[in-house]
Symmetry: C2
Subunit: 493 residues, 2 copies
């Protein structure tokens, strides 16, 4: 392990390589035999499970229910909504046959040409089409509304350049799809779920986010409005972390979903969809981790506290175990997940490095001298600070320390973002500042053409038009035309 | 609703139609636009979620962790294990292209012939191949073993005749894949998970099962031994409800997965796999439900108790609500899920029929007279019996009643199975008895040929060679050759 740690690239040497190394070395995920598809390893999956559980709770608290819709979508469904097909047809996995047969030469199996599908099926890149085709039969009257469904599912988009968690061909996500009687109610829902995502990011992932609206260029294919939460990584690049779409009546029109309103008149249904994915794992890793490995927020760490005994013989070990066992029990009763690692086949130094690499928030080490003194060594992963503490009352202090770490890494990320957010007035200034990374607040004339020009010349895109903050109008830094408010530019993942 | 209930086919008229009706009318699932794929509706999915949560808890208690492996499998992987490819190549969805493009005539989208994959990909029908290809890099020494992974996933098998939950092209399941250093340890694991499945079926689903071993004909493609739990439905047909496979070293050999053992010698790894699926929903529905609708075991019911107020005006309703609110709170504190349905737009009779159809185990109805008398009407779904009870102490009685219902439906199903299980000596007797349905215990000479003959002539298969019970040897009812013990024959789903 000492060797492996040495192999972890330093952030300042190569941030991108550091990320790739970390995903592998912390046992989070690895590439599979299928291009662009990853294997999520048990430790990585355990973090994702904690995310899922919390998000699922928040969805249910806001009145949503889970359901499950088919993996495969008839090809013709994709082209029903004009913008949607442009956005998704280019990158999808197409099922054309339903059977293999033995190769005549005995070399294995080949596709059976007799088993060709009449209409090809697409592995869902997102499920608006199949779901709205289903909703047609669920919705007749305003009494059937709203429908507030979510599904946890895998989706597939044929990406050319992939990076584990950040951009993979197959990924896991949740997609909420809601149906409403009025425009206003649908818009409220889209904003409500944006707020749920922001709360989750900030309170559980300890990742500060900016809530905003996407420009037309960056909008979801088929949406009238896309809301987003944008986070800043340690290298100053933006990561879109969750989106919530107001779909208007586009999908209702494409799939002919109408309802009879209270005035007894037929009307198209209003829609939203919203999703977060295993991409959040990438945001989590890149926001907090350091050159020693992962730093996990206590609210999502599969192991929150690890206790490592330091002993010279079995007698010492047994004494330590006897002292530690009741502490472990009380911690567990308080809902804190603890691992007591008294495994004999690895030395303490090896274990320390491993749990640092894995980002366990709090490590306790206890040896013979501690036993004699009634003390324990406490190391917090975020600052790597060690302190010797009294065993008496240690449970309360661990509970408080976990909350302190949770808050500290959030504040640290927030300060980092603030220090890398600047306001510019001119395009020249912009070009200079964007090279240094971070978020640049600048005026823009609201046109796709100007945004496109800036992107081509600087590789920066509009991450969002922020919902909160300064709303002073001004003049576009490129064209000098009127600008309603400053927007956030950044290079992004 | 009264109308819809009338439309529910009676079991004795057409059991199969009753099942299909019930799945639709109880809002569990429906057919989708993709042949053989169903939509699992929120109420059905809520039951499946309860199953998942409990199974996941049991897997973790037995030392397993979750992970996630790719949806798509390279075609060539399938043919690595000779038996496996025979079992699965015939019925799989094949991805051949990775892009669509606009049709030249503007009619929609077509497959882009330029985007043909070099090697086709298969949507996983099960994941042994991709997982063992992954394990090759995870396993080097006996110290890396055992690996005890599970995944919750969707799988796809191109079935020609489908029925919701029982046999669908896409279904949801969990698949455990474990790797071991010794044959004995792998066999123990396979049996351990069989026992976990049996416990789950009996204690949570209230479905009695027979644990046994599959004959060679019914074995999983690639396994040395398949263990199974077999349940009997109300129509006397068997339903295979979960299987656990001892795979020997077959997949380790196919994917070249070796480890260095304690004697420092290379050896192939030993394997198991085990799975249960949304098919369990079919078992649950068909075991307990009746002509009034679903009957759900309290341990898996999304709503365990529903409370319906009966009132003539808002004042009465408010009085009832005031009385009921603290009861609801106490029930929830005890972990009992309660719905207080004071919705104004449906009459009590309609609500009663609807909650019966949905299988809610306990229904309370409370009206003005009850308020005056301090009473409540309690209806239990399993027997449809009503009783008037004192409100005082009602919380304790509901807790006890839920357990009583759980036990009662299990006992009822067990008695049904026992009453439909017979022993026969001759093949003539067998042919007569098999027509009446149920499990037939008979002697069999252990050959695939005899089993095949019986299947052709009677449509009955060997469901399993039971692990428990009578082990007396005898003579095969068909050939007169020696038989080690009686086996269970039945027609099956």
């Amino acid at each position: 392990m000492a060797i492996e740690l040495k192999d972890l690239t330093k952030r300042q040497d190569n941030y991108s390589q550091w990320y790739n190394d970390l995903v592998i070395k912390a046992d989070l995920a690895e590439q599979s035999a299928v291009r662009g598809c990853m294997v999520i390893k048990p430790y990585g999956y355990a973090i994702w499970e904690k995310m899922q559980q919390q998000l699922d709770r928040m969805f249910k608290e806001t009145g949503h229910v889970n359901a499950y819709f088919p993996l495969l979508i008839p090809k013709s469904f994709l082209s029903r909504e004009a913008d949607h097909v442009e956005g998704f047809a280019k990158e999808c996995a197409v099922v054309t046959h339903y059977r293999l047969k033995n190769a005549p030469d005995g070399s294995g199996v080949v596709v059976d040409p007799a088993a060709k599908l009449e209409e090809e099926l697409i592995i869902r890149p997102t499920s608006e089409t199949i779901i709205w085709n289903t909703y047609r039969n669920w919705i007749h009257s305003y009494r059937d509304l709203p429908i507030l469904c979510n599904q946890w599912a895998n989706v597939f988009r044929w990406e050319m350049r992939t990076r584990m968690f950040l951009r993979t061909a197959e990924f896991l996500w949740q997609e909420g799809h809601t149906a409403h009687a009025t425009r206003e109610e649908a818009l409220d829902e889209a904003v409500k779920m944006l707020n749920v995502y922001a709360d989750f990011a900030e309170k559980y992932m300890a990742v500060p986010v900016i809530k905003g609206v996407k420009s037309a260029n960056e909008r979801f294919a088929g949406a009238l409005e896309t809301f987003t939460i944008e986070a800043m990584m340690q290298d100053g690049k933006a990561l879109q972390s969750g989106t919530s779409h107001f779909l208007g009546q586009n999908f209702a029109k494409a799939f002919d979903v109408t309802f009879v309103n209270k005035e007894n008149k037929p009307e198209y249904v209003w829609a939203t969809s919203w999703g977060v994915s295993t991409r959040l794992m990438g945001a989590l890793i890149m926001t907090h981790s350091d050159d020693n490995g992962l730093v996990l927020p206590p609210h999502l760490a599969p192991i929150q506290v690890v206790i490592v005994p330091i002993y010279k013989n079995n007698e010492q070990r047994d004494e330590i175990t006897a002292k530690v066992t009741p502490i472990v029990e009380v911690l567990r009763k308080r809902g804190i997940s603890v691992k007591y690692d008294d495994a004999d086949n690895r030395r303490p130094g090896f274990k320390f490095a491993d749990y640092e690499l894995k980002g366990v928030p709090v490590r306790l080490a206890i040896g013979a001298r501690d036993l004699a003194n009634g003390t324990v060594e406490v190391m917090r992963r975020d600052t790597l600070q060690k302190s010797v503490e009294q065993l008496d009352g240690i449970v309360d202090r661990i509970g408080a320390l976990l909350e302190e770490i949770q808050d500290n890494i959030y504040q640290k990320a927030l300060k980092h973002r603030e220090s890398m957010t600047r306001t510019v007035e001119t395009y020249d200034e912009f070009k200079e500042e964007i090279e240094k990374g971070g978020f640049i607040l600048a005026h823009w004339d609201g046109t796709p053409e100007t945004e496109e020009k800036i992107k081509e010349e600087t590789k920066a895109t509009i991450r969002c038009i922020p919902l909160d903050g300064d709303k002073t109008p001004g003049k576009c830094m490129v064209t000098g035309k009127p600008s309603a408010q400053r927007v956030i530019f950044a290079r992004n993942y």
